[in-house]
Amino acid sequence: MAKRRPGLVKGLVSGRYKPLTSDQVQRIHGAALDILQRTGVLVEEPEALRLFAEAGAFVERDTLRVRIPQALVEDAVDWAPSRVVLAGRDSKWDLELEGARVHIGTGGAALTVLDMETGRPRPAVLRDVAELARLVDGLDNVHFYLVPVYPTDMGKDEVDVNTYYAGLANTTKHVQAGVYSVQGIRDTVEMCERVAGDADGLRERPVVSFITSWMVSPLKFATDVTTLLIETCRQGIPAVLSAAPMAGSTAPVTLAGMLAQLTAEQLAGVVLTQLVQRGSPLLIGPIPATADMKTGRYLGGAAEFGLANAAIAQMAQFYRLPIYNSAGMTDAKVPDIQAGFEKAMSAVLALLAGSNFVHHAAGMLENMNIVAAEQFVIDNEILGMAMRVVRGIEVNDETLALDTIDAVGPGGHFLMADHTLRHMRSEFYYPSTVVDRQGWDQWHQDGALDARERAREIARDILANHRPEPLDPATESWIRARFELHV
């Protein structure tokens, strides 16, 4: 009798949670167009300005204000691909980003690691990029490796190729990170073409993608990063258009206004990428959040975070563009109760709304500032539970189990029914030992450990014993001969 076990649970079609009605989506769309036509964006990057002007946008040369007409927006949205596949070195980790298919994983560029053994914070370094890749490679509910730390021991000229190497060599999942220089992009692409086989191979199955934080909200293109975005498009690598305003300080305090501004910003970015290269693969990257009105600080764990990220996913579905957004963050500094409830709430909401590529959702603390190894393990559990919810309930002849119900009859039991044996492993989500389900006495006998400590044990085990599939030796030696690697 076959025991059905669930395979990797990723890429499920979701989208049932809709905080916005379709009228509201339309209104926000209209508002975004209004913003682009009335207020416009500020663009200093000369190549971008030239492209906008040539395409018929209204460019005010003295103020560098660019106003983008509706027709140009509509064309660009049309040209941008509705489906982008981000590949893993192992194709079982390929991510099909389209519609309301969901994937969730790590994120991005923290500077501090909360050391698992000492509990003390320390600066993140390149070795952490490699080790955390290995840890994530062993966590099945984390669907991709968005490099969670910025290696503070790397200079700007060497950071890109080293970061991407450390990721690719230590996990077979898709690797994504920021890029920091044009030469860094070119070096990384050259390395990845080797990893993928050749130039065409990399474009057909991109094992890496590049995040560009090109937008300084509100509505201002960051000049240097715009150059990097243009280079990414020219290289044919999928680009992420990351923008992270805060309602109340760099976006309107009301969520609808923030969504409208974010949408306008993203559409301006989509237009640019499609003017650089029609058909450029991209993920729009709107990350709505709120500012703490008491201090001005960024909030990653607020109730509004999950709600707004769910709503912005609806906007992406309206435009039929793949979206990178955020969930699973917390403002807690340690893996504690606050971390638990803040992360779980936003992760479930973002996934139920059909977000294609949800980042920041594993490993992070103090919103985007800190990572902790045991937090990746805890979050792996949250994501597993959330994906089970996304999976939903199958209703068919087999699952309605009428014959079994009749055979068991009133007062009987289901524990030994063929039907139970056939389905029990696949029907439920089985968490790791992060989740303790024993009674008090057993739990106490086992050392009365809390979830954080149980997660540490799992993290230690993965870090000690998990061996990801390495790069093939020829590729490895070619890369080492070609580039100066520090890991």
Binding site: P121, Y150, Y180, M293, N369
Partner: protein, 211 residues
């Protein structure tokens, strides 16, 4: 007489800048001394704002509009105050470092400092080290504040401190740093004098460095 001071203070608390300016003029027209209006009206109002803000009852935007109302009142008083009577907490040069265009945090710190009575010189964003150096020479501030949001631009805080040292100006100022990726440990590592995690504490830190 005290009544009008109370009205100035409460209108300041509510951020009513036009009303504050009008009432300040009215108080002067009634024969009150500028110094009395300043301390009994404007400063009394801002003190209450400060207390309620620390207690978490007033939020940042409310503090900012109260400070703006205070400045409106100050504009009316300033010509009448002897130079020694114009309160200044100190002069503060602020900017976002080279390569970085993010300014909301820097702007918020600047506005809170102004609200606390600092005179500020805002160098904007993407400020090269030599521009900080020139500003220190020209304005002779007590404190220089640097902001950064990007991991790649934080390093320019260190270059700016080095530039000030090379120019022989390091000991003439106190330096404080802030921004989302900045930590107290980083501040210490680069030789800054202080670090602040948000705009409100930046004011307290600036006061400590000045006082």
């Amino acid at each position: 007489m005290a009544d009008i001071l109370g009205k100035i203070a409460s209108n300041l608390y509510n951020g009513e800048r036009e009303e504050v300016a009008r009432l300040v003029q009215e108080a002067l027209d009634q024969g009150m001394l500028a110094g009395e209006v300043l301390s009994g009206g404007l400063i009394a109002g801002m003190d209450e704002v400060g207390r309620d803000f620390k207690a978490g009852d007033l939020f940042v935007p409310e503090v900012l509009i109260a400070a703006r109302a205070m400045h409106a009142g100050m504009d009316v008083l300033r010509p009448l105050l002897a130079e020694g009577d114009v309160p200044s907490a100190g002069k503060y040069v602020i900017g976002t470092v080279e390569g970085d265009l993010h300014d909301i945090g820097k702007n918020l710190v600047r506005m809170m400092l102004e609200g606390a009575g600092f005179e500020t010189v805002d160098l904007g964003t993407d400020v090269k080290p030599n521009v900080f150096v020139d500003a220190v020479r020209e304005h002779q501030p007590t404190v220089v504040g640097m902001s950064a949001l990007l991991t790649t631009t934080m390093v320019n805080m260190k270059s700016t401190i080095e530039a000030l040292t090379e120019a022989g100006l390091r000991d003439a100022v106190k330096i404080m740093v802030g921004g989302a990726p900045v930590t107290a440990a980083f501040a210490e590592e680069i030789g800054a004098d202080a670090y602040a995690p948000d705009a409100a504490s930046a004011v307290d830190v600036a006061r400590d460095l000045t006082g």
